[in-house]
């Protein structure tokens, strides 16, 4: 079809849109095209004779006038019943796709967007992610049949993406002919938008709807994106119907993703939903071992535990580890506790400089829901005392202020009171009492 004609028709349609109500416009002018304009006769394709009759009665004159204005000379108008399919038929459906010779081709290279080093073998497993690991392995071994979709959720740096890459790699290794599509939900949205803009929805549809395994990372970002959700919904149905596997990750369970259409959220939850908790100490230690091996280093156990203690998630763990390793190579020294403390010490200092004692007091107060004046005040009810001691402990640990300074900050208390408070909380923490959770919570908000 001719671009010029298309443009002309579009212009006329824009004008018509202002004369006709939206509903009417949609019913009457949808799928109409100007297919030729020769010797002052404009031929317009309209899907059915019934619509032609309506157009003749109501708008033929308007359209003719507009055509004449834009074209420059008198134009007569002819409607023909013809359905114009603007989109090319999007690829072959499974039934009509010719069978390829079933010989296992060589596995060459790796999948686009998928890190080849993220495999099941180098994924450290402990209680917090054991279920997720097992279900991911099952899914990779029996794609499309076991849990469909597989929905993993959990906070950052717990290994959701690692598991997704591992599934992709495993499926690809089994048979490189398997069409594996790995994409983040942001990229998915972009593809949908691009396709709509460039009128190439068929190609996009083909790409996603022929996948044997479709992985969408961080699905929560489709919140409130209606067109994307619609596309995903259809893709979802087609893939599930044809026995393909879908895997999704998110930072929260499906029903907590807001502005998500109900039909999607129920579909997300239709397979297996597994959460991955933040790694515990042992897991973090194990991860240090695996990561260090990747970089070709051996980390002594006491250094490992320092790293595991300091890092909150696996991503920062890798950062800390790299810092220690860099320090060791720079100074050409073996990795020891001193070297690690030295390397990490700087980093902690950097952070502390921005932190002020008042901030800590504020965090503690908001955590226990009391006022700073109460914290500094003279009352000694059990709950106030607890909060006060936690504040002493945290200021002492985080800022390394002197006991007298801390005493002054907290309403002019004696330094022996501070010693007692700090010691008490320390012993509770060491014995993993319930207060540890409070401390963790506050520390987390302090560190942002």
């Amino acid at each position: 079809m001719n671009d010029q004609l298309d443009k002309l028709w579009k212009k006329i349609m824009q004008d018509m849109q202002q004369k006709v109500s939206h509903a009417n416009f949609h019913t009457l002018f949808k799928n109409t095209y100007l297919i030729s304009l020769e010797e002052n006769i404009a031929t317009v394709a309209v899907p059915s004779t019934i619509i032609i009759d309506l157009l003749q009665k109501r708008f033929a004159k308007d359209i003719q006038e507009l055509l004449t204005t834009y074209h420059g000379s008198d134009v007569s108008l002819l409607f023909v019943p013809k359905v114009v399919h603007q989109q090319k038929e999007g690829g072959e459906t499974p039934l009509f796709a010719t069978e390829v010779v079933r010989q296992k081709p060589l596995t060459v290279g790796h999948l686009p967007r998928v890190r080849p080093d993220f495999t099941f073998q180098n994924f450290a497993v402990s209680a917090s992610n054991q279920l997720a690991f097992a279900s991911a392995q099952t899914v990779a071994a029996t794609i499309g049949t076991a849990y469909n979709p597989l929905f993993l959720y959990g906070p950052v740096g717990v290994g959701k993406t690692h598991l997704m890459h591992a599934i992709a790699n495993d499926v690809y290794q089994q048979n490189p002919m398997n069409n594996v599509v790995y994409i983040t939900s942001e990229e998915f949205t972009n593809e949908v938008v691009d396709a709509i803009r460039s009128h190439e929805t068929a190609r996009m549809k083909k790409r996603f709807r022929t996948a044997r395994l479709l992985i969408i990372d961080d699905i929560q970002f489709i919140e409130g994106k209606d067109a994307t959700q619609e596309e995903l919904f259809h893709t979802f149905n087609i893939l599930i119907d044809s026995g393909s596997q879908i895997c999704l990750t998110s930072d929260r369970p499906p029903h907590e993703i807001k502005k998500l259409e109900a039909r999607l959220s129920s579909r997300f939850a239709g397979g297996l939903t597994v959460d991955i908790a933040a790694p515990d100490f042992e897991l973090k230690a194990a991860i240090v071992g695996i990561k260090a091996k990747k970089y070709g280093y051996d980390i002594p156990p006491d250094v490992t535990s320092i790293l595991a203690e300091r890092a909150e998630d696996t991503r920062s763990l890798e950062g800390l580890l790299l810092r220690v390793i860099t320090q060791a190579t720079n100074l050409n020294k073996p990795i020891t506790v001193e070297l690690a403390e030295d390397a990490l010490g700087n980093m902690l200092e950097e952070k502390r400089q921005h932190l002020h004692a008042d901030d800590i007091i504020n965090y503690v107060c908001s955590y226990y829901q009391i006022k700073p004046t109460q914290l500094r005040g003279p009352r000694r009810t059990a709950s106030l005392v607890k909060a006060r001691q936690v504040a002493m402990y945290l200021i002492h640990e985080e800022l390394r202020l002197t006991l007298v300074e801390i005493g002054n900050l907290l309403g002019g208390r004696d330094h022996t009171t501070i010693i007692h408070g700090v010691e008490k909380i320390k012993s509770l923490v060491d014995n993993k009492e319930k207060i540890t959770e409070d401390i963790m919570g506050i520390t987390k908000s302090i560190r942002g």
Partner: protein, 369 residues
Amino acid sequence: MKLTLLTRNLQQKLSFLNRAISTKNQLPVLLNILIETREHAIKLSSTDLEIGIEVLCPAQIEEQGSTTVPARIFTELVTSLTDETLILQTKENKLEASTKRTKSVFQTVSSEEFPRLYETKGEKLTSLSGKEVKKEFASVVFAASTDTARPALSGVLVRKESQGFLLVATDGYRLSLRHYKANRNLTGESASFIIPARVFRELMAMKEDDSDIDVYVSREHNQVIFEQGDTRLIGRLIEAEFPNFEKIIPSDFSMSVSFEREELLNAVKTCSVFARDSAKIIKLSLTKEYIVVSSGASAVGENTVDVEASLSGEENEIAFNARYLLDVLGNIEEKEMVFDMIGPLNPGIFKIKGDESFLHLIMPIRVQG
């Protein structure tokens, strides 16, 4: 316009007319039924622009004329009437419907606004015998796609053959094919066209008795008309290329098994309870004496049903989407069927035992382990 008719006659016609009334996003006049007087009858029309319906209803005409009335309200009112005769009369821009005891007044829209459903009927293609042909259509139409993005797949291919018609529908995952033997002479030249599945569905809902169905086609107007008794159904043809289905129909099989249709249907229904949670996968294990139908969702449970069957060839396994199995087994009326296959990755074929005219192909689901 003024006329008298039998309430019962009108009541029978109205429900079918309402099938072409769509409530969404339409021109107001399309929510109305067009009433026009003819000789000794009135003609009622409705359309949603995709299809159109026209029916004739006998009436005594006193004064010629035409008008349109809101379809839903008019239908509801007329179906609630119990008096034998009904008088319809236009007064200015209103329509009065009165019986011995009731009198109702409808707001109307000028009949000028109502679109003409067709200009000419076109060339008469054939005449089909009523009841039988609807049954044959039913065994094909369900396989068509409901996705209008692929126009060719949303229709049924009708191709003239030496002794009748070939009907084919597919949605890209399964395909239904039927040779229909016309037992009378065919007229007309046109070789093949694609008619929207929707038109066939409405045709099957047409509640005329078993009188013949005349089919008219006009290439020029891109239109098809089915006419049975006093009812006409108008649809448009789909202009698209139908996929080359011949090349995917296999000719030799490694295995063939025959079974009772209803038994397998019930077995699949039972198994689909579990299949719901595992991508609707139903596995068929084909052994010498049984078809073992099974399904399972690892989180819920699993079940198997044995269906008696007799097999020739090698034993094998294949898995299908439950919905596709239910569709094919549920839309056939014959008692005994045959299933042929080549391998678990090739399409499986359902046939009617001793009847070469029907064939249904389903793409299997790959299952590991």
